[in-house]
């Protein structure tokens, strides 16, 4: 038997109208746009037809489900109509709807006072974040001391695993981005420097900018996006699946097993990646200067050590260790605060990446101010 689209026909006569229903009155079929517009307008017409009692004929209906029954029940003004023709098989469905039909309770509205309180709550959440972040950092310090006391019992397998994921697998992307930034920078500078006939200074500019600033920051931002989010998501999923609770009841300290290995891996991988990114950027810059200005690689190699003091490299490596630790701690912090639902996991991951990138740039500015007399 072919299942027809739902249909409704209103026949008005002086004695009172007659509403003829046919087809499948099921949610899926009712939602077909062409059927729905007809049904909606006809039901509105029925309601507008006023005091004349209508006869509702349901006997031609092929199918009626709860949604369809509720639609009729609403059209009847939530009471049984006076004249109703229906099959016995349809009655239980309508009776069930009649029995259960109530308005959904309105979702709790916020009063002005609650909105005001929300403001204070925001501030408290911020303080809470600071408190936990401080606690996490302190715990990391204590765990490091514990590790230094008994290095043979450290979570070294975890460390090496994270080192591989954070460091080794990030080599291609950091090299590519670094190389391209070096090329872009060299081309931009070459235009400007040529106007002053100061072509040779390209080495100084690239050397200082890439080694001292761009290398560490570029690598840190890439790793914050790549590994910071991964750390938050990993730990967050462990919260959702109750793995964190399982660790806790086994008496395994999450700081020691989850935070410490990630922090160590980040602190080791970050400076290495920084050097790697800087090298790629210098290579890109060197090739671009050769092509754009005819500054040969031989001259580049010769001039670079004179233009850039070694202390710059030390500063860059020192900075990137701090960046690595920051990214790890912020990633773990947001991961541990994830609540067991999908939305919170997404929010935590976003917040983790945004916060760690912001912090990296902030701390970088701090370094720039504090070490302004060194290496330049």
């Amino acid at each position: 038997m072919l299942e027809k689209s739902p249909h409704i026909a209103l026949q008005l006569s002086p004695q009172g109208g007659r509403v003829l229903l046919s087809g499948c009155w099921t949610a899926a079929r009712l939602a077909e746009p062409q059927s729905w517009s007809l049904i909606e307008s006809t039901l509105a017409e029925c309601a507008a037809s006023g005091q004349k009692p209508l006869t509702w004929d349901l006997r031609k209906l092929q199918k009626l489900d709860h949604t369809g029954a509720h639609l009729l029940w609403n059209a009847w003004g939530r009471q049984w109509p006076q004249n109703l023709l229906l099959l016995e098989a349809q009655r239980p469905m309508l009776e069930r709807v009649a029995h259960y039909a109530i308005k959904a309770p309105p979702p709790a509205r916020k009063t002005l006072w609650q909105v005001f309180l929300l403001l204070g709550e925001r501030l408290l959440v911020l303080l809470d974040h600071l408190k936990y972040l401080t606690r996490l950092t302190g715990q990391l310090l204590l765990d490091s001391i514990k590790l230094a006391g008994r290095p043979s019992q450290g979570p070294w397998r975890d460390v090496s695993g994270h080192l591989y994921h954070v460091g080794a697998t990030a080599l291609p992307i950091t090299a590519l981005v670094g190389f391209l930034i070096g090329v872009v920078l060299a081309y931009l500078m070459s235009q400007q420097l040529r106007q002053f006939g100061a072509d040779a200074f390209i080495v100084n500019i690239l050397g200082i900018a890439l080694i001292r600033e761009l290398g560490p920051v570029l690598a840190a931002i890439l790793i914050a996006g790549r590994s910071g989010s991964a750390i938050t998501a990993q730990i967050g999923v462990m919260r959702v699946t109750e793995e964190l609770d399982a660790m806790r009841v086994m008496g395994i300290a999450k700081g020691y097993r989850l935070v410490l290995p990630r922090a160590i891996a980040m602190a080791v991988a970050m400076p290495l990646l920084t050097v790697w990114t800087t090298l790629a950027a210098l290579l890109g810059g060197m090739l671009a200067s050769d092509l754009a200005m005819g500054v040969t690689p031989a001259y580049f190699f010769e001039a670079l050590p004179k233009a850039v003091q070694v202390s710059n490299l030390a500063l860059a490596v020192g900075k990137s260790v701090v960046f690595g630790l920051l990214i790890a701690v912020i990633g773990c912090h947001y991961g541990l605060r994830v609540k067991p639902n999908t939305e919170s996991l997404g929010q935590g991951t976003t917040a983790s990446v945004v916060t760690s990138i912001t912090m990296v740039i902030l701390v970088d500015a701090l370094f720039a101010v504090v070490f302004k007399n060194i290496g330049i």
């Binding site: 038997m1 099921t26 949610a27 899926a28 009712l30 939602a31 077909e32 746009p33 729905w36 909606e40 489900d65 709860h66 949604t67 509720h70 639609l71 609403n74 239980p92 069930r96 709807v97 259960y100 039909a101 109530i102 308005k103 959904a104 309770p105 979702p107 709790a108 609540k339 067991p340 639902n341 999908t342 939305e343």
Partner: protein, 265 residues
């Protein structure tokens, strides 16, 4: 009712094979099963006998290695297509509620996705389902994280039924519930099966649930259905797995209960 003659689910010569690191393990081998309209069929079997895999294949979530699965006259692979909610409802073992939505939004989700029906009607219809599964209207705006295990199952059931599908699949409906909640949930399932004329396919380990609800029981062992029939027919089977499964201490207790209820009726 033309559907009484053609089976709702038909599985023909099904092979399920898991490939794991070059090693293939056969789960099902030439498995045949058909479910008639209006039946309450339970599938039982040992752990790892592939009961849940079978459910997932019926839903089209997994593709069998060989063989044919037909659901409501269409290949199972098409089950996930648009409008699937009006053909089949699935109660997942852990509920699988959308954790970012409230209870009411969870139940109304499939209706809302139709994009045509007005919000008031959707809310009304969802409220009816909410109460049909025995939940209080005041629970409507709670989040899934705030619900107890039994309530999660009820909300998931209401969500599965929101489009009134003719076929309902249940994966371990009473697992993780305390005995009282399990009994209440069984009663709910039985009344829904009777009132809505549903075809139900259930996978369970729980013998009480099994005997209380099923009109037919199919036992999966040795990679295919070894016996299928009413409770007493299955109990009479001489297959070693069936004997161990039902004649163990737990099985005897549940069967004794079955005898008692039969006598009462």
């Amino acid at each position: 009712m033309t559907q009484t003659t053609t089976p709702v689910i038909k599985i023909h010569k099904l092979w399920s094979v898991f490939h794991n690191a070059g090693h293939a393990s056969v789960i099902h081998q030439d498995l045949d099963l058909s479910v008639k309209a209006g039946e309450f069929l339970s599938i039982v079997g040992g752990s790892g006998s592939g009961k849940t895999v079978l459910l997932r294949q019926i839903l089209g979530l997994e593709t069998p290695e060989r063989g044919r699965v037909t659901v409501l006259g269409r290949p199972a692979a098409e089950m996930g297509a648009e409008g699937a909610a009006s053909r089949v409802g699935m109660l997942f073992q852990h509920g699988a509620l959308f954790s970012a939505f409230t209870v009411l939004e969870n139940i109304a989700f499939a209706l809302r996705e139709l994009k045509t029906l007005p919000q008031t009607l959707i809310r009304d219809a969802a409220m009816v389902k909410l109460q049909m599964v025995g939940l209080d209207p005041s629970q409507a705006h709670k989040m899934p994280a705030d619900l107890s295990g039994g309530m999660v199952k009820r909300v998931a059931l209401a969500r599965a039924l929101v489009m009134d599908p003719p076929l309902l699949l249940l994966d371990e409906p009473t697992a993780g519930l305390d005995p009282d909640s399990a009994d209440a949930f069984c009663a709910l399932l039985r009344s829904l099966h009777r009132e809505l004329g549903l075809t139900v396919l259930m996978v369970t380990h729980d013998l009480d649930t099994l005997f209380e609800l099923s009109t037919r029981i199919a036992v999966v062992a040795d990679k295919h259905i070894v016996v299928s029939g009413t409770a007493s027919e299955v109990l009479a089977s001489a297959h070693p797995f069936v004997r161990d499964f039902f004649q163990g201490a737990r099985g005897r207790r549940a069967a004794a209960l079955l005898q008692a209820t039969v006598l009462e009726v």
